[in-house]
Symmetry: C2
Subunit: 323 residues, 2 copies
């Protein structure tokens, strides 16, 4: 296999992703120009290191897509449409042309899925693949981490649990039922942040606070409770009907997986009671489904589970990266 | 040595750099908010990998500072004041508290030197230290890579040659005179892009085109000539009087070092003849010194050296990273 140089790497990726639309600047100058919109500039960086962030069985294009998804998930939680991305890559000296093409394909997929222009980047050499995605957008309003009031309902944008099970299957070889296996693995390899839902709920002013959940549900709840100086009373775990059955048959601990697993890309948010109906309606219209998991209390920083049968403090710990 | 976790890493760095000024958002939410200014959003990412980008003898804080300098250099060439930076880090599991403090100190130094707010970032685990800096600013006008006309003068923002010699000393143990050695090493460990000069020259409309020179003078000239569809006639190498003497005594090849060496952080620009005087004046006022090295020709893409004694094509090749 012939080694490819930095110049060729850029050319191959550019072939895959193409140049951004006018009036975004062409890739190639020292800096990128991004047309402004109204509001503040919103920025997020997220770095993916293959060894610690790409599970076994993840294809190269899926890894590239995931490196963008991680930041998109934060934009979803804050309700902001991202405009542009810049991608810094460190690639091993021996990387093949085909692998670089696959990276380009993954970036293109993320670009098309989330309506982003890729406006620039940087390439480097390293022993492992490292991808840093800087995501940029503009917004006149974002949903912050504080703003929740006692009585607000706590919702999540979809069921939890599949990604941690998928990781157990891919990394540790855990064996589960075939239909469970498929859903769990897909949730890890092709995570789907609910960007449309996050934007609509923020634009319509439905959320009093929100956070991304990529470090796990428990940690997200704790961070949101601390920032908002309120507490949470969780009365239900956000799982689908089939999930409990699947998990039991596979002898998996549901609490552990749903609360402390990762990497989930759901929105965790609080919604004033009088807006819950509208929020549910909007979610259904977009083909999503909000799961209500509890309500906001006055006890600042306390995250309690209580479903009338079991009652325990949800611990402040979260998803620890692979490797 | 006790291992530190991601949470502690963030705390140590935050202690060193502090929170950004109001109305920039505090570090900690899912995304950063940056107040907009007039004009387009300008963005640049640059990734530093310790193994390939940090020469032997570079202190940890110098490496952290350099990771920001690389992007600042591009902003200098385009004439834009950067507003904010986001920093993604990958750090080895065994990194010490002291090393993380040093990283924070380097970031703070860069922040203060160039008037940047550090508004966010990400931390990860990797075998080598990787730092990706995303630099953001706003500008109503930047100096592009095209716009030069035949007859324009070619200038650089300072002397070339010291960084390549410094790298040879640090990496290969090349021995040179003591005073030469000091200047050469300092130029590598503490590179100083001329941000103030770049901004003033662009704001005053003095430059017809410009480019950053971190891949070496020859490559920058070729890229600028190609983008501008013009040629360059170089009549003088941008070196200081002492440099030639030093280099000869140390048996170093001046052409090779000045044209194809790296990593220089100077601005390479073209200036219409009637604006040269004003540009020189402005540079002197800021304590800098423009070096005129030739003039723009009609022969698109041709970069020729001709000082009346020697005449040769300057090759299109540049700085290759360490390791």
């Amino acid at each position: 296999v012939k080694r490819i140089n930095e110049h060729e790497t850029i050319r191959i990726i550019l072939e895959a992703i193409g140049q951004p639309r006018v009036p975004y600047s062409m890739i190639g100058d020292d800096v990128a120009l991004i047309p402004p919109r109204d509001g503040d500039l919103i920025a997020k960086v997220d770095m993916l290191v293959r060894k610690t962030d790409a599970p076994k069985g993840m294809a190269t294009w899926q890894m590239a897509r995931k490196s963008v998804v991680a930041s998109v998930s934060d934009f979803a939680a804050k309700g902001v449409q991202p405009s542009a991305a810049l991608l810094s890559l460190a690639l091993p000296a021996g990387i093949t042309r085909k692998e670089v093409q696959e990276l380009g394909r993954g970036f293109r997929k993320a670009r098309d899925e989330f309506g982003i222009q890729i406006v620039g980047g940087d390439t480097n050499e390293s022993d492992d693949i490292v991808i840093d995605c800087c995501l940029l957008g503009f917004a006149e309003w974002i949903t912050g981490r504080h703003g929740a009031a006692p009585g607000d309902r706590i919702v999540v944008s979809g069921p939890f649990g599949y990604p941690p099970v998928g990781l157990k299957i891919l990394q540790d070889g855990v064996v589960v039922q075939e239909s469970f296996r498929e859903m769990a693995i897909a949730s890890v390899l092709l995570p789907k942040p609910k960007l449309d839902l996050g934007i609509v709920m923020t634009t319509e002013g439905l959320l009093s606070s929100s956070i991304d959940s990529s470090d796990g549900l428990a940690l997200s709840l704790h961070q949101l409770a601390e920032s908002g100086e309120i507490g949470f009373n969780i009365s239900k775990l956000p799982i689908e009907g089939r999930f409990a059955e699947f998990a039991e048959k596979s002898r998996l601990e549901i609490d552990e997986i749903v609360l402390y697993g990762g990497e989930e890309y759901e929105i965790v948010a609080t919604i004033p009671e009088d807006k819950i109906k509208q929020a549910n309606l909007m979610a259904e219209r977009l083909g999503h489904h909000l799961i209500e998991i509890g309500s906001v209390t006055e006890e600042a920083g306390t995250v309690l589970f209580d479903d009338g049968i079991r009652r325990f403090q949800i611990e402040k710990r979260g998803w620890v990266h692979l490797g």
